[in-house]
């Protein structure tokens, strides 16, 4: 009961603190808007993918190769590629250059020759991706044809499995985040981390106000005070994050997918992680230097986690450093949940967050117990 009273008091005080709200809500919303619009061109999927048109010239003698191409071209059509058979008098390469087709492919017993459009790069990439899987095997088979015609059958027999194969190599995922979507996630997870700032003075603020005297002299135990304050701080910061999420979804039409519970839990555990880490820093650092330390930590973690620009393509040492950012764990999980429709992607990051929260709280708890009053 005392835990709830203290948590409620914490909420009340923070709700009336205008600074909390400008910082935790207005600031990220403005950032989403600015970064989301200014950097939208960096997110290519904003450009809509136009029709995929493949012109092909088939000059295959071998029946098995011929049959396998028939099967494959059906798969291509199912994937949304418009196939056009080459007719006498057409210059395939010229037609691609003129923009009539995305690509031109020539098939004969020697293999596949491919000419992609240099204007429709994305579309070209998609078709090339699909075709390359097939072409590898086709070229292999056509080479085998010369040496040992019987083996063509075995090589091309697995043509049915192309279907699943193609999905993986294709660029044509169901959904891709646009700039606003990206920054809606990145800012929400970043602002969750800022919960650690106010939490670093969670206990110290009571001491500054001298209300720690009353709390310690009251029948509420140290554990209750501790738990109440942690719960209160987590809730208030979580509410701030939720407001940012909702605002970005409603006002900016940012995509938050359909797995609300999974998204919510990732964000909640991330806030809890930030709160418990901030609390610990409050115990580790004297007189507010914890705050300065946290500003730096948050900036680094945010930067590495892709709060300002995506760091997924990081290479070298950077690629490994990036992995230690809790922001990246959260962003990755959210991306998976929202864009790959995998609610289960939330589990590892929730588990990791909860474990760290437990660790930080236990250490903070030990510090607290050593103190005479709170």
């Amino acid at each position: 009961m005392n835990i709830l009273r203290i948590a409620r008091k914490e909420l009340l005080i923070q709700f009336r603190n205008k600074q909390t709200f400008t910082f935790m809500i207005a600031f990220p919303i403005v950032l989403i808007l600015i970064l989301g619009t200014a950097l939208s061109s960096a997110f290519s999927s904003n450009i809509s993918v136009s029709d995929l048109k493949l012109l092909y010239k088939e000059n295959v003698q071998n029946q098995q190769l011929e049959a396998s191409w028939q099967d494959f071209s059906q798969i291509l059509q199912k994937e949304g590629v418009q196939l056009t058979k080459w007719e006498e008098g057409t210059d395939g390469q010229q037609a691609v250059m003129d923009g009539q087709y995305t690509a031109y492919a020539e098939l004969n017993d020697d293999g596949i020759h491919y000419y992609g459009s240099s204007q429709q790069t994305i579309e070209n990439n998609i078709i090339q991706g699909m075709l390359s899987v097939y072409a590898d095997r086709y070229n292999l088979a056509s080479a085998a044809l010369k040496a040992n015609p019987a083996s063509v059958q075995t090589i091309m027999a697995s043509v049915d499995s192309f279907g699943s194969f193609i999905k993986e190599t294709s660029l044509n995922k169901e959904k891709q985040p646009g700039a606003i979507d990206y920054y809606a996630i990145a800012m929400s997870t970043m602002i969750a981390l800022y919960a650690s700032m106010s939490s670093s003075s969670l206990i110290q603020s009571e001491r500054n106000r001298k209300t720690s005297i009353r709390l310690s002299a009251s029948p509420a135990t140290k554990g209750q005070i501790f738990a109440g304050k942690v719960i209160g701080a987590t809730l208030i910061n979580f509410v701030c994050v939720l407001v940012v999420v909702l605002f970005s979804a409603l006002a900016f039409r940012a995509d938050w997918g359909t797995h609300y519970v999974a998204v919510g839990l990732v964000l909640l555990t991330e806030v809890a992680l930030a709160v418990s880490f901030g609390l610990l820093c409050g115990y580790l650092f004297k007189d507010g230097s914890g705050r300065a330390f946290l500003v730096i930590v948050i900036q680094v973690v945010s930067f590495l986690g892709g709060a300002y620009f995506p760091t997924d393509d990081a290479t070298g040492i950077f690629k490994n450093i990036v992995l230690i950012s809790p922001l990246r764990w959260a962003n990755h999980a959210l991306n998976d949940i929202i864009y790959s429709d995998r609610a289960a992607a939330a589990l590892p990051v929730i588990g990791l967050n909860v474990a760290l929260v437990a660790l930080f709280l236990i250490i903070s708890g030990l510090f607290m117990r050593r103190r005479e009053a709170i």
Binding site: I213, R214, A217
Partner: protein
């Protein structure tokens, strides 16, 4: 019955002994004055009584129960008014009291009633819904008291509740202390203002360097120092007085010069007749003497005699 008993209480901070083997009894229904110069160990003692500091040695009994063993019982029966304001500026007067009283297990209607009572008691009912940041210093002090009394503790501990407020608010608070006492609470009252303590306390303890050096009613304390006289000399002088010379006169124990009021106070052993020497010393220094008065012993005299220090240094 004794509400509070302190037995051989000691508290150390590292090697420094802040409270040294203190023994004290506070009876039910008393307003008990706790006096001592800065750093005497008053707050340290109070903080041990209210479980804010651990006890190095000795024990404290509240209503006969050891407060370390019966921590919850002790806490439920104590209300503390801290030396500094201890309220939430972001919460209204009502919310502050409601929150703190709630920690004492009060619920529902009872909690609401007690909160309203406490507000009424300190005269803040009409400001209940306001934030303390709009309050005057005196009003904040009153709220500080209200937060400590809503749960009706048997023992109320007040650590300098009248510091830095206007005389009107001070009177209000002193009257409240009396009323709380009449309503059945025992009170421990710490103050730097002697007159206050003389006015409201039934018994007084004087501490210095962590030790209890005197205890009793104010009459008892005053009669214990009949060997001291308190001389008030009103003077006129352009230059500051040379109090060091006067201090060296045989029998003089303490000299206080109030330059603004042009009033010199000299404490001296009663049996030595040294008034002539004192006046001579002043006249030699071209000080014009306007009046000389020998006062009856006050609590301040007691305090100065026992500690050799002024309370307000």
């Amino acid at each position: 019955m004794n509400v509070l008993e302190i037995h051989e209480l000691t508290r150390k901070f590292g090697d420094f002994v802040a409270v040294d083997n203190m023994n004290l009894k506070v009876r039910e229904g008393e307003i008990f004055g706790f006096l001592g110069p800065n750093g005497a160990g008053k707050s340290t003692t109070i903080n041990m009584i209210s479980s804010l500091l651990r006890i190095t040695k000795g024990e404290i009994l509240l209503l006969g129960k050891n407060i370390t063993k019966h921590s919850r019982f002790a806490k439920m029966n104590i209300g503390i008014v801290p030396q500094d304001l201890a309220i939430y500026e972001e919460m209204t007067a009502y919310e502050n009291i409601y929150f703190f009283a709630g920690l004492y297990g009060l619920r529902g209607n009872e909690l609401k009633e007690r909160t309203a009572e406490a507000l009424e008691f300190v005269g803040l009912s009409d400001r209940a819904k306001e934030l303390p940041k709009n309050f005057s210093g005196g009003m904040k002090r009153r709220l500080n008291i209200a937060c400590a009394i809503a749960h009706k503790p048997k023992l109320i501990i007040m650590d300098e509740p009248t510091v830095g407020i206007d005389p009107q608010s001070r009177n209000y608070i002193l009257n409240s202390v009396r009323k709380l006492n009449e309503m059945g609470s025992t009170i421990i009252y710490t103050s730097h203002y002697m007159e206050e303590v003389e006015e409201i306390c039934s018994r007084i303890a004087i501490v210095d360097h962590g030790k209890l050096i005197a205890e009793g009613t104010k009459e008892q304390l005053k009669s214990s120092i009949t060997d001291t006289k308190d001389i008030w000399i009103s003077y006129k002088s352009e230059q500051p007085l040379d109090t060091e010379r006067i201090r060296q006169i045989p029998g003089v124990t303490q000299v206080l010069d109030d330059e603004q009021e042009q009033l010199l106070r000299v404490w001296s052993k009663a049996e030595i007749n040294n008034l002539n020497l004192i006046l001579q010393q002043l006249i030699q220094n071209q000080v014009e003497i306007r009046s000389v008065d020998e006062k009856a012993a006050t609590l301040e005299t007691v305090f100065l005699t026992l500690t050799g220090r002024n309370l307000r240094d």
